[in-house]
Amino acid sequence: MTAHSAIPKMIRMTAEQAMHQALREEFQRDADVMLMGEGVATKRRDLLDDFGAARVRNTPLAEAIIAGTAVGAAASGLRPVIDLLFAPFMTYAMDALVNSAGKLRYLSGGQFRFPLVAIGMTGGGWGVGGQHNHNLEAMFVHAPGLKVVMPATPADFKGLLKAAIRDDNPVLFFADIGLLHEEGDVPVQDDFIVPIGRAAVRRGGEDVTLVAYAKTVNVCMRAAAQLAAEGIAAEVIDLRSLKPLDADSVLNSVRKTGRLIIVHEASGLCGIAAELAALAATHAYANLRAPIMRLTGPDAPAAASWVLEQAAIPTAEAVARAARELVEFMPEPVGLWSSTAKTSLGNPVTKEETTLA
């Protein structure tokens, strides 16, 4: 940054505080913004006091009607934010989010728009088990008409939530439980926005591309630091938005490094990593110098036991190990395929595919 450019004022705060600041600023900026959910008026008492009971509404523990009400309100001129607490509770809200918010703009020929945000917490960190911790973000990526974001830094928690509130489409905002209490520098000017659909390069490198989102961004940053000490330069890309997906940022990096590892806590089957692997294989095949690797959570519910919960999350060591394998990878000579020379990379369902390796 040059000396004369505007230096944004930064304040150190947690991701949770950053989300609250985003809500407060958007409440202040736009009188149509409102908040509904179980306990929102209880937990965010200052918003209730400052903006009134009409805009800050506690609800019954009934996710289907919370979400449905948000859909109806959004189509009628309000900009509701709904806090559904834990992401698995969103399965109760699937009809409203998937069938209504996601489809009724299209099915009506563009007559309605649905500027709403649905917030859900997920991910390992609190030992809450599989009915409170389920990284089901890819389910919503698969639903047309929805946008999906999942930030990794307190600044992005704020900037993406503000962008989501201002977006004219329904946005699913997944908050990684493991990051909520982590601190970071957060810009405090009112117009700070992180655009939806744009990834961030967290660390530059030429040898291997590590793509992650939410808590696995930190995992990859730690892996990149380990690798740097060994002379391997890893580039770390934080997706931030899962839909729309910033394919260009990933592909540009892969074209440079020729090696791609995608890392997320959600299970791998038909997930974000699978999509990125397909994109790279389709659009950057000629640049690939090694097989694409995915490190993901297993196809299993999250366990409550600390050890088992953490075992489901890819580790920096596993990411670094995978990166070393890719850097050392030598393609088989054509026509001389040898099973003994193959690494586990050749098998799409090896243990390396999940963190249970």
């Binding site: 449905g68 109806g72 009628s76 309000l78 009809d95 309605f112």
Partner: protein
């Protein structure tokens, strides 16, 4: 008993019911020739006409897959509805909806959902927006649903929230006795849906849904009550789905005795007899009305069939705002 409508209003009710019927039956015919099947509202016309006439321009309607009556009663053009059913560009939704989720925002018919219960999930939000000043001042919302939707959990969630938040919302349950292919007496522990609504604290009226004057009078009372109190009200209209769940449906599962009982109480037949008895129309007038309506529907169908197909390259338009 409610006051008799004047001659103009009475004849208008008859004509609108007949237009809905003719529209639905024209689509049934078309289906036999290969057009997409529809969920008809044949037999339920008095519910749509009676309730919608009690609303005015500032009000909103949230409907379901059996929506043609609500739309036509609200003034939707049969030709644009038919174009929609046929998937053509001149349909209300540009052909993307088909028959199942037709909304016409210009008429205040918003957010039609074909998911049974979906209409009940969204209607409180539309009413909340009205209450928070986003709609036309004084406007209320009417949501149409059936006894099938009343068996969804969202029914109770919607009623509870509407009472809790005192939303200007009229719940209109068209109890047509059938939930897809199952009679409601097989699925409900209570015999009256109104009892569930009373349990949630709503003011409730239960009435013959095949008597358009009675429906209109009850709806007008409910609407006045909602405008005065700001809170919700509930109507249970007892009616009958004369045709199958969708077309084609041989209705082999329907008790013929029950069906014939209800056919004797067909809403259009009942109302024609009433108007004949009141001397507001004679048999020649009835025949002339039918000819006029049939001609209008035939012209509407010709319009729809002449309407262009959407261009394939527009496939992904309107996914996002």
């Amino acid at each position: 008993m409610q006051a008799q409508p004047n001659a103009d209003a009475a004849l208008r009710r008859l004509e609108t019911m007949q237009r809905i019927r003719a529209y639905e039956l024209a689509l049934v015919e078309l289906q036999r020739a290969g057009a997409p099947g529809t969920c008809t509202s044949v037999g339920q016309e008095a519910c749509a006409v009676g309730v919608v006439e009690a609303l005015d321009a500032r009000d909103r309607i949230v409907s379901n897959h059996r929506s043609a009556g609500h739309l036509i009663a609200r003034g939707a053009e049969p030709r644009r509805l038919m174009a929609e059913v046929l998937g053509r560009v001149d349909g209300y939704c540009g052909g993307r909806s088909g028959s199942l989720h037709i909304s016409a925002r210009e008429l205040g018919v918003v957010l039609t959902s074909t998911i049974v219960g979906g209409e009940l999930s969204m209607a409180p939000g539309v009413a909340l927006a009205q209450k928070m000043g986003k709609g036309d001042p004084g406007g209320i919302v009417a949501v149409f649903f059936g006894d099938g939707a009343a068996c969804e959990g969202i029914f109770h969630e919607a009623l509870n929230l509407a009472v809790l938040w005192q939303l200007p919302l009229l719940f209109v349950c068209e109890n047509n006795q059938w939930q897809a292919f199952v009679h409601r007496l097989e699925t409900m522990a209570e015999t009256a849906i109104a009892d569930w609504a009373r349990g949630h604290g709503l003011p409730v009226e239960t009435l013959d849904g095949n008597d358009v004057d009675a429906v209109h009078a009850a709806a007008a009372r409910a609407v006045a009550r909602i405008r005065a109190s700001g809170g919700p009200a509930f109507l249970e209209l007892s009616t009958y789905r004369q045709r199958g769940h969708f077309e084609p449906d041989d209705q082999a599962y329907v008790d013929p005795g029950e069906l014939s009982d209800w056919l004797r109480r067909d809403p259009i037949r009942l109302y024609s007899e009433r108007l004949l008895a009141r001397g507001l129309i004679d048999s020649g007038g009835l025949a002339a009305l039918q000819v006029r309506i049939d001609a209008g529907i035939a012209a509407a169908l010709a319009y729809a069939q002449a309407s262009a197909w959407p261009a394939p390259e527009t496939l992904t338009e309107h996914v996002y705002a």
